[in-house]
């Protein structure tokens, strides 16, 4: 309730709750419970210590402190903490794997999403032609 900005609200899945299915939307999600299926969010995903995810994840930034089994796609950054475990392939613009973390799978780097403004990296990589910006 404290946040007026609806696009930036964070949903919470607590420890004893389980979801079996598909989750999507422009939200951030904090997972301390159990998810099976797939998650596709425009916001960030945070998998807490007690979180167990058996799903493909797609989000802007993803932080893993719990367990994830599935393919992970982070348009911005993937972070695996010492307590974190990722079994599956990851695709990310930037990865940060801390000492002690477990990661089994392939890793593929992508360019940061062109939509993100203010990032110098995206400005460097963005293609020069911009037909939409031409003014009559």
């Amino acid at each position: 309730m404290g946040k007026d900005n609806t696009a930036d609200s964070t949903s919470l899945l607590s420890r004893n709750v389980e979801i079996d299915g598909e989750i999507q939307g422009p939200e951030n999600l904090h997972i301390d419970g159990h998810i099976k299926g797939s998650i596709k969010l425009a916001g960030d995903i945070f998998v807490g210590n007690t979180g167990v995810v058996e799903a493909d994840l797609e989000a802007k930034s993803i932080v893993i402190q719990g367990e994830v089994a599935g393919n992970v796609m982070a348009h911005k950054q993937l972070e695996i903490h010492p307590s974190g475990k990722l079994i599956g392939d990851c695709t990310a613009a930037s990865i940060d794997i801390k000492e002690g973390a477990i990661f089994e799978g392939r890793s593929k780097m992508i360019r940061p999403a062109g939509l993100s403004t203010g990032s110098s990296a995206s400005a460097k990589f963005s293609t020069p032609q911009s037909p939409k910006q031409q003014q009559s």
């Binding site: 420890r15 004893n16 299915g21």
Partner: protein
């Protein structure tokens, strides 16, 4: 006699204190293990769309969309912008939002002013606020047997009818 009583009292107090300390310790250990989960309520924001099954123990507040099934041991609040399609089961359900499907509660259901329900309700105890929309049928199961006597059910409406017609 008086001395004995005092001693007994002291003993009792000591025991209570020990019990209390032990409980506190247990609580602390539990808190450490579960993190801050004691006050945690699962919260699904208004932008979140879920397709599938949500189950577990605890309290849930949903503001977003769900297509599928809720199976919860605890309280469920379906808040205003929420849109639920499917079957909802919980101990206590409170509705401010929209539901198409069935609501089944072990304890009670409350429909608030802004609630819009299309479907079935099954609960031992129900309250509906003025302004709520409800299209469907209600089953009140799990009541004590005398509350379900058909004679009472028949008598109640006829009594109401007579009282309504007399003033005219």
């Amino acid at each position: 006699m008086a001395l004995f009583g005092k001693k007994e009292k002291e003993k009792f107090a000591k025991k209570e204190k020990e019990k209390f300390v032990k409980k506190e310790k247990e609580n602390k250990v539990q808190r450490r293990e579960t993190g801050s989960s004691q006050k945690e309520t699962t919260y699904f924001g208004r932008n979140l769309k879920i397709k599938g099954r949500v189950s577990g123990n605890g309290n849930i507040i949903i503001l977003g969309g769900l297509e599928g099934e809720f199976n919860l041991k605890g309280r469920l609040k379906i808040a205003q912008p929420a849109n639920i399609k499917g079957e909802v089961k919980a101990d206590v359900i409170s509705v401010d939002g929209n539901v198409k499907g069935s609501l089944v509660a072990q304890k009670r259901i409350h429909l608030d002013q802004t609630a819009r329900i299309e479907g079935k309700i099954d609960t031992p105890s129900l309250s509906i606020a003025e302004g709520a929309h409800f299209d469907g049928e209600i089953t009140m199961s799990g009541r004590s047997p005398h509350a379900l006597r058909p004679a009472d059910v028949d008598a109640a409406p006829s009594f109401q009818n007579t009282t309504k017609s007399t003033p005219k």
